[in-house]
Amino acid sequence: MQKSRSDRLFYVFVYLLTILAVVVTLYPFLYVVSISFSSVDAIDKQKVVLWPVGFTLSGYKMVLQYKELWVSFYNTVWYTVVGTLLNIVATCLAAFPLSRQQFFLRRKLNFFIAFTMYFSGGLIPVYMLITSLGLYNTRWVMVLPVLVITFNVMICRSAFEGIPNEIFESASIDGANEMTMLYRLAVPIIKPTLAVLTLYYAVFHWNNFFSALLYLGKQDMQPLQMFLRRVLIMASPEVMQKMGGTMTSGALAVSSLQVRYVSIVVSILPIVMIYPFIQRYFVKGITLGAVKG
């Protein structure tokens, strides 16, 4: 069919807007990456606008030598791996009983967890509880207080509820108990949902800054986000000097800019690398969340 002129105009708009959206989103990242690979001289003369000028890895060499980066990177990996593992196990353990129609406490326990979405003690009482439990300045403070996120339990429960009951009935005739059903049957069936939840939890832990701000005073336990805050936002001269100790002071200012941008690249690289693989589950995961909880 011949397209009318107004239809052609429509597609021009569609493509222009999409290209605009891509450029606006991508440019800041591209600029950060370009600065991270450019020579100090080019940055100093403000030649970098889009692509790296005078390609060099010296910024990376400097940042990767910095011990505090590695310590905080290790901490973040620890919090993310341990935290996400516990999250997924706990979310399944919470969601499966709540999805079983015949479970005699189902409605009561559903209310028990849903209530916490609308009412909480608030910042100060939670803070006082966590410090009085002795969790202040321990690794577990990054993991235990967010064992599950209630909204994610709801998503997982909806996924379990979507499994036809006949599957469980025939398993129970074969003598399987609920533990086996969960582990052998239910979990494998809802793998796509669990993939999305894993991503959500992992990103939460990777980016978690608030818990560390409140409960981790010790620098050697602090995650990457606290390190980034010092480098990017407080731009601590102490950090900068340690990193570029051998530089002359004029070059120091410029290379400190590079140090900041290299740190951004290093910190978001793991997410950028992993997330396209999970992207195909997004639409499914999000519409699942929108289903009546």
């Binding site: 708009f13 999409t18 009983p97 003690g121 100060i124 009482p125 900041r260 941008y261």
Partner: protein, 305 residues
Amino acid sequence: MKKRMSTLFSLIRRDKYLLLMFSPIFLYYLIFMYLPMPGVLLAFRNFIPGQGMFSGEWVGLRWFEQFVNSIYFWRLLRNTFLLAFLPLLFGFSIPILFAVCIVEIKNRTFKRFAQTVTYLPHFISTVVVAGIIINFLSPTDGIINTLIARLGMEKINFMMDASWFRTIFTSSDIWQSFGFSSIIYIAAIMGIDPEMYDSGKIDGVNKFQELWHLTLPSIKPTIVILLLLSLGGIMSVGFEKVYLLYNGATYETADVLSTYVYRMGIEGQNYGFATAIGLFNSIITFILVFAANTLTRRLTKMSLW
């Protein structure tokens, strides 16, 4: 009585594995969610540090009165509202528009690429986003000021100027969220019955008319639900981004209830006062969320719970 007990026992025996499964979760909610709840009573006490959560004499509504009468009350209320409302006002339609574009794109590689790129900022931490903003806007070496200087204009010290805070906060919020927020609209548009489009084509409808009279009306329920949900969250702007972007020079437009609670409570150790403000904020939020959900249920016969 005896009979009821014995049915309870048989129910427990029947569901023992489910109970076993749920028990660690029950403990978690009990300790981390329910145990702090009585702590809201701090809002009505004169708490003395080091004497436990339930110490101190009752002071009634003293902290609330002190807060409502303080010079910061209206400023905090206004900022908390505006920093949620402005992104909603300027940003709400963008994901819808973007979803329409994505669905219409025929080239699959470009479509996938555009989606991948625009979802990405959603996964970047607030610290990095705030870091990028501050460094791009820096008057010494930020790219924005470099460009401003090149155009022969005077550099602007954005982060120290209270009149810029709302613009910066709103635009970066839209930048970070529009792509990811479009997913739900994309799913809604894909769910429209294709036969409706076929009959439209026979009637000779062009693409603009199709968008206005077919696509948008079809996804109206989704739009209404999401709008109401965002209105419910209008008094609960996130702590992190404000905390990372603001400073003493920009409190006038940047300080919100949650950051004020943090400064008063955690930094200033005024536990009673801070708990009272936190409670004040969560009551408002609760009412708004409840109202939004009731409205949603009335209008669409769907609800969140």
